[in-house]
Structures are given as structure tokens and as C-alpha cells.
């Protein structure tokens, strides 16, 4: 039952392929925008990529802030193992590298406090049961206030220049990310006048400024993440107007055999399957391992190509790390791979 079946060539990622999309070539280095919003389906390693990008920025001498949306913070532990959660107040994890968690309730309290000028009263109102019930069910405000906070951070000044050279946002998973990014645009179209509209407009301008902001989708070279990435890119192009200049494909299985041994699995299959090889596994098992690695590699390659074709974007591949990124130093290695110029795969 555990025999590995050969992989089949993957079919098309998206049903209706996108029209060819011209990318300005070559894309600018990743660290040139002040705001990079990292998105991807759950399980693609989006948070790890956000952490690696922040590390890359700090290593390049930039003042970096990495902001997480999830209340269950992972970034402090990835960048500085053993570090406690950073919370809304933020924490410095390394020289020039801070992290924070944007809690929408906190951000709303801060925003309304700035608007009204009496933070104490605002906090008391927000903590009433009535308001909590409203906020628990009301749509859109979390996305809006979170992006508002990001804008606020982007505008911060220190010593005559921007406080941060690079802000990395670990955005919600793909399914939610178009709703996330389009929140300001929805407000601008639905609300006629007033501070909410004015502020949403500023956030929208920040998102749509290709000099300042980049959306960085993270995919896996597998069917569902590949398809979702293609759909995300199409929907962002249609609805949001935020720049995307590359796709990061994470955990791509490397070429498994050394040069000259391309058919290793087939050679192993030619042996008597149950031949006793001492401490070595039997040929049946050796062939199964080799065949698995080869199939995985070929399948991944097929999906990398499809992601490139379906999105019309160049691709940055990150290698599969069998042991995860907990081992010290591997986040550094990942951050270097992330900065590599993206490749056209079509």
C-alpha cells in the first residue's frame, strides 16, 4: 500500500488562463520598498518568509519592523528563539529589527483616541459589552484599522527621516487577503464624506503607490496553493491595484540525485526487490525512497512553471528544508535565497 505511484503531469492551474501580463523588467530589488505585504495560503510558510525578509532587511542595514496580524505570534520565536510575544507595543528582536502584533481592538482604541483626544474615555466606551458585541460581528473594520495602523507606522518619522526603512506585514491567509487589501477602497466608495473617508483614501494611496508598497505572494509548488496564487494575483490586479512583481515559491524539492545518476530510481528497481543488503534497506525500499524524491521534484517543477505561466510573474524559489527553519542559521540562509533576483520560468 505504501508503494509510491509515479506522479502525473499536473493539469492547468486555473481554468481560464490569464492573458499574458507584461512585467516591467527586471523587477527592483526586494528591499527597495518601504512596505512589503506578505500573503499566501495557510501552510505555505508565509510567516517564515515574512520573518526571513525582515532579517534580510536588518542584515542590509535597514531599520525594520515586522508586523503580524495573528494573535498567536510566531515571528518573535522564529527570529529570536525563546523570545516572548511582542504585543501591540512591539519588541526589539535584534539590532535594527523590531516586531509587533497589530491587534485591531488596540489599533481602534489608539485611532479613536487620536481622533477624539481623550484615550481614557475611548477605551471605556470600547470596552463596554454593547460595543464589543457590535465589533465582534461588524465586517471590515479589522482590516481597515489594521491597514490604518500600518499607514501610521509607515508615516512615522525619527531623526529627520522615516522611522522605518522597511515594514514587513504578515497579512491574513490568501482567502481573506483581497478583502483585507480592498477594505480602504470599499470605504472610499461607500462613505460619502468625513474623516473615515479621508483617512481611508490615504491608506489606499499608500497601497497603490508602486514606489512604496509591494504585495509578495508566497505559494507552494502544489495544486491548491498554485491555483489560489493565480486567483489571488488575478483578483488583486482587477480589484486592488497594489504592485506585485514576483511570486515566492516555497519548499521546492531539490534535484534529488547527483549529476549522471538521473535514473537512479529505475536502476534500483532493476534489482531483486528483496535482496539482503545488510544494514542497507532492501532494494524495494531504496527504490521507493529514490522514486519518491524524484517524483516530488518533478511535480514541484511542473507547478513552479505553472505558477509562472498563470501569473505572468517571475519566481523566487526557496529550497525545501527537511528539518524546518528552527535550526539556527537557516533563517539567514532563507533570507539570502529570498533576495535572489526572480527568474522567468516560462
Amino acid at each position: 500500500m505504501l508503494g509510491f505511484s509515479p506522479s502525473r503531469p499536473p493539469a492547468s492551474v486555473s481554468e481560464a488562463p490569464l492573458p499574458p501580463f507584461r512585467v516591467e523588467s527586471p523587477p527592483r530589488p526586494l528591499l527597495e520598498r518601504r512596505l512589503v505585504i506578505v500573503t499566501g495560503k495557510g501552510g505555505t510558510g508565509k510567516t517564515t518568509v515574512a520573518a526571513a525578509l525582515a532579517v534580510a532587511g536588518a542584515r542590509a542595514g535597514l531599520r525594520v519592523l515586522v508586523a503580524e496580524m495573528s494573535p498567536d505570534e510566531q515571528i518573535p520565536g522564529l527570529i529570536a528563539p525563546g523570545s516572548p510575544a511582542s504585543g501591540y507595543q512591539g519588541r526589539t528582536l535584534r539590532p535594527r529589527l523590531g516586531s509587533m502584533q497589530i491587534d485591531p481592538f488596540e489599533a481602534l482604541t489608539e485611532y479613536l483616541g487620536l481622533q477624539i483626544g481623550t484615550p481614557g474615555i475611548v477605551r471605556r466606551v470600547l470596552e463596554t459589552r454593547a460595543f464589543r458585541q457590535l465589533l465582534n460581528a461588524a465586517p471590515g473594520w479589522r482590516e481597515l484599522i489594521t491597514l490604518g495602523k500600518v499607514w501610521h507606522l509607515e508615516q512615522m518619522q525619527a531623526g529627520g527621516g522615516p522611522r522605518y526603512d522597511l515594514i514587513v506585514v504578515d497579512a491574513p491567509a490568501t482567502g481573506h487577503s483581497v478583502a483585507f487589501l480592498s477594505a480602504p477602497r470599499v470605504v472610499v466608495s461607500a462613505v460619502r464624506a468625513g474623516p473615515l473617508r479621508r483617512h481611508s483614501k490615504l491608506v489606499e494611496e499608500m497601497l497603490e503607490d508602486p514606489e512604496r508598497t509591494l504585495l509578495l505572494p508566497v505559494a507552494l509548488a502544489e495544486e491548491l496553493p498554485a491555483r489560489e496564487t493565480a486567483e489571488l494575483v488575478a483578483r488583486v490586479r482587477a480589484d486592488v491595484g497594489i504592485a506585485i512583481d514576483r511570486v515566492v515559491v516555497n519548499a521546492v524539492a531539490p534535484q534529488p540525485f547527483p549529476p549522471g545518476q538521473g535514473n537512479l530510481d529505475r536502476h534500483l528497481s532493476a534489482l531483486p526487490p528483496d535482496l539482503d543488503l545488510g544494514a542497507l534497506p532492501r532494494p524495494r525500499t531504496l527504490a521507493a525512497c529514490a522514486s519518491f524524491l524524484r517524483s516530488r521534484h518533478e511535480l514541484n517543477r511542473g507547478y513552479v512553471r505553472q505558477i509562472g505561466e498563470a501569473t505572468g510573474l517571475p519566481v523566487v524559489e526557496l529550497p525545501y528544508a527537511a528539518l524546518g527553519f528552527e535550526a539556527s542559521g537557516s533563517l539567514e540562509a532563507l533570507s539570502e535565497a529570498l533576495l535572489a533576483p526572480p527568474r522567468e520560468v516560462t
Binding site: M1, L2, F4, S5, P10, V13, S14, G42, G43, T44, Q74, Q115, I116, I121, V122, V125, T128, A130, F131, N136, A137, A138, P139, A173, G175, V186, A190, V191, G194, P195, L196, E223, P225, R227, P256, P258, Q261, L264, H267, L268, L271, L277, G278, A279, L280, P281, R282, P283, T285, L286, A288, C289, A290, S291, F292, L293, S295, L299, L323, G324
Partner: protein, 395 residues
């Protein structure tokens, strides 16, 4: 618990089997495999999926958004080992349409229905209103279960940010509609002007003033209009929500936890289980999907295998002839085995906590092997069902 007992608990005694777990672990695949197994065991089964991978949807025949069940032909099913009265249908949920249907059914009058469906806030909000997506999925399960055309409905839960939204959503929607602020928004005094407004001395009043100050009056009027139209429905909605909840938390529902082999996924699965138990739900079983398993009953001894490389090289030279660099091939084979063994070891470490947590509780636990390709056809799904329910000893 063995495979047969698990099938009994999860598929035979239940009317609804709910696959829970975080996104990206293959819940849809597992739900479809459970559906095949239920059909094999003679149940008229419906698999209700939220957002399947394209080719999986093709395999199940639900690539179009019909919001109604598509039967898988008997001939196809018999090739999968389904005999007798078992049947299998699949359906892909159209969430927006399900919510619209609900409004149509519960609206007090044609006029109020039209007003809700046409309201700009509803059009923006019905998809985003907290939990409406999750709620409409469970609403559909209830509706299909009421129809009685199927013995069992297998459903995969939507990928929510908050894992148990599908259980909590109805309550949250009701609380929202009942809340002071909403009541004030739809109170005629509000529409009449701000005079009535001053009469309230409450947090809700201050909260509304605050909102008004930030958003402007016009927006709140649209919201008020929407809520007014919705209010008439809330009695019907409440009753319906209670019934849905009753079905899911009652004896006719079974829950299957699906996890992936990563550390983070295992941590989330443990958290899930704890929270489900907070609802009084007992899991019928835990399935860890896509685990790298060693393809041999004998565990590897790769650290001491160097010495035996010449035996492998000799065998390769004999089988493949002089064109093959046999020594290099033997070494590459050992490296490939080590590479795969590292994956096996990593997964075993990550899933250790899940395996440990069910120890002594007699719950069903099984690892589904990772395959090099995607599972995207019915025979592939059937082999996953075999991996779950047949005692193989391979794991």
C-alpha cells in the same frame, strides 16, 4: 479503536460527519475519502465541500457552482468497491447563494426581502458579516439533512481564521442583532433625528456618537436601514440557528479532526481538540494527513549502512552493466534513503504530541501516507480511504 470501530462511530451511527482542522491540511480530500468509505458500507452519502482543488472537484463532478448534489454514477462507484444500496453524491457550497436563500425563506414579506437583497450594506456585508460564511455552510448541512435524501452528510468546514467559527457563528450573529447598539440603530427615534438619541445614557449611546463622528451620518443611515429590514427575520433566524446548533452538537453528529504533520499544524490541532471538547464534542478520531512513512516494516539503520555500500554497488553493476557508475549510484541511493528518512523522522517528531495526547483514551488515530503526486481522482481517494480504514500495519 480500530478502523471498523472508527467507521462505526464516525460514519455509521452519525447523520453528519464534520471534518475539522486548519487550512491546507487536506480536509476536503479526507472528507471525500470518508464519503467513499461510507458508501462502501451501504450508506447513501453526500459529501459537501466548500472550496475543493480544481481537479478534486472535477473528480467529484462538482466543478460547476450548482449548489445542489451531483450523484456519482453507480458504474464508477462499483469500481471503487461500492456495492448494494450505498450511493455517493457531492456538492460544492455556494455561500452567497445559501445566505440569499435563507433571507428569501425568512423574510416577512416580498417587500422586506427585496429591501434586504438590494441594500448596499447587505451586498458588501453578507459575505463579510462575521461568521456568515461559516454559518451558511452549516445551514446547508442542516437543510440537506432535513431533506432526508441521504443517510450521511460528510462536510469539510471552511478555512476560518477562528477555527470553530462554524459553531460559534450563529450565536454571534444573534448577539449582534440583539445588541443594544443595533437596537438603537433600528429604533425609530434614531431615524427621527438626534433628539431621541440624547435620552440614552449608556455606553451604547457614546459608542454610536463615536462612530458617527468618525464615519459621518450617511453611512450609519444605510446601516440602520439594513438592520431594520433584517430585524423582522431575526425570530426565524434564531429558531433556525438553534436547530443547526442542535444538530451539530447532538448525538447525530460526529467530528473527525484532520491535521497535517508540521509542528505548527499539530499545535493547532491540539488546540482545536481542546476547544471542541469545551463544546462538549468528543472526536471520533484524529487523522494526520500527508505523513512521510518509512516504506518498509523494518526501521532504517542508515547510520551503519556505509559498510554495506559495496554489496549494493555489486548488485547494481550486475543488474545494469558497466555503463553505470555503480559505486556512485550506490552512494546516491544511500543519500536518497537518508533524505527520505529525514522527512520520516521530522514528521514522527512533529506528530508525537498528537499520538501521545490520545494515548489511553482509546481514540482512533491514523497517519495517512504522503504520496509524491496529488490525489485528484476517485481511485486516489479510495486508496486514502483504504489507508484510513484497513489495518495495514505499515504505519
Amino acid at each position: 479503536m480500530n478502523g471498523a470501530e472508527f467507521a462505526d462511530a464516525a460514519l455509521l451511527r452519525a447523520r453528519v460527519a464534520v471534518c475539522v482542522g486548519c487550512g491546507g491540511v487536506g480536509k476536503t480530500t479526507v472528507a471525500a475519502a470518508l464519503g467513499i468509505e461510507a458508501a462502501r458500507r451501504g450508506r447513501r452519502t453526500l459529501v459537501l465541500t466548500i472550496d475543493p482543488a480544481r481537479r478534486l472537484a472535477d473528480a467529484l463532478g462538482v466543478d460547476t457552482l450548482g449548489n445542489r448534489p451531483q450523484a456519482i454514477p453507480a458504474e464508477t462507484l462499483s469500481q471503487l468497491g461500492v456495492a448494494g444500496r450505498g450511493t455517493l453524491s457531492a456538492m460544492m457550497l455556494d455561500m452567497k447563494r445559501t445566505f440569499d436563500d435563507l433571507v428569501e425563506r425568512l423574510a416577512e414579506s416580498d417587500e422586506s426581502r427585496e429591501r434586504i437583497l438590494a441594500n448596499p450594506i447587505y451586498q458588501h456585508a453578507s459575505a463579510a458579516l462575521a461568521g456568515s460564511v461559516e454559518y451558511s455552510a452549516m445551514e446547508k448541512v442542516f437543510e440537506m439533512s432535513e431533506r432526508g435524501e441521504h443517510d450521511l452528510i460528510v462536510v469539510d468546514t471552511p478555512p476560518a481564521q477562528h477555527a470553530l467559527d462554524f459553531l460559534e457563528a450563529p450565536q454571534r450573529l444573534l448577539e449582534f442583532l440583539d445588541s443594544r447598539i443595533v437596537q438603537m440603530l433600528i429604533h425609530p427615534a434614531f431615524a427621527a433625528g438626534r433628539v431621541g438619541f440624547r435620552l440614552f445614557q449608556s455606553g451604547a449611546r457614546r459608542a454610536l456618537q463615536l462612530m458617527e463622528r468618525v464615519s459621518g451620518m450617511g453611512f450609519l443611515e444605510d446601516v440602520s436601514e439594513f438592520l431594520l429590514a433584517f430585524e423582522g427575520m431575526s425570530a426565524g433566524f434564531r429558531e433556525r440557528a438553534e436547530q443547526v446548533r442542535g444538530l451539530l452538537l447532538g448525538p447525530e453528529a460526529s467530528f473527525v479532526l484532520v491535521a497535517g504533520p508540521g509542528r505548527e499544524s499539530v499545535r493547532q490541532a491540539l488546540d482545536f481538540r481542546r476547544r471542541l471538547e469545551g463544546f462538549g464534542v468528543t472526536l471520533a478520531g484524529t487523522l494526520v494527513n500527508r505523513v512521510h512513512l518509512w516504506p518498509d516494516a523494518e526501521p532504517p539503520r542508515l547510520d551503519v549502512a556505509e559498510a554495506d555500500l559495496p554489496r549494493l554497488a555489486a548488485a547494481l553493476a550486475a543488474a545494469c552493466g558497466p555503463a553505470l557508475e555503480a559505486e556512485a549510484a550506490a552512494r546516491a541511493a544511500l543519500e536518497a534513503a537518508r533524505g527520505y528518512a529525514a522527512l520520516v523522522e521530522r514528521d514522527a517528531r512533529a506528530t508525537g504530541a498528537l499520538r501521545e495526547a490520545r494515548r489511553g483514551q482509546g481514540r482512533f488515530f491514523r497517519e495517512i501516507p504522503e504520496l509524491p503526486g496529488d490525489v485528484h481522482d476517485l481511485p486516489g481517494l479510495a486508496s486514502i480511504a483504504d489507508a484510513i480504514f484497513r489495518e495495514t500495519g505499515g504505519a
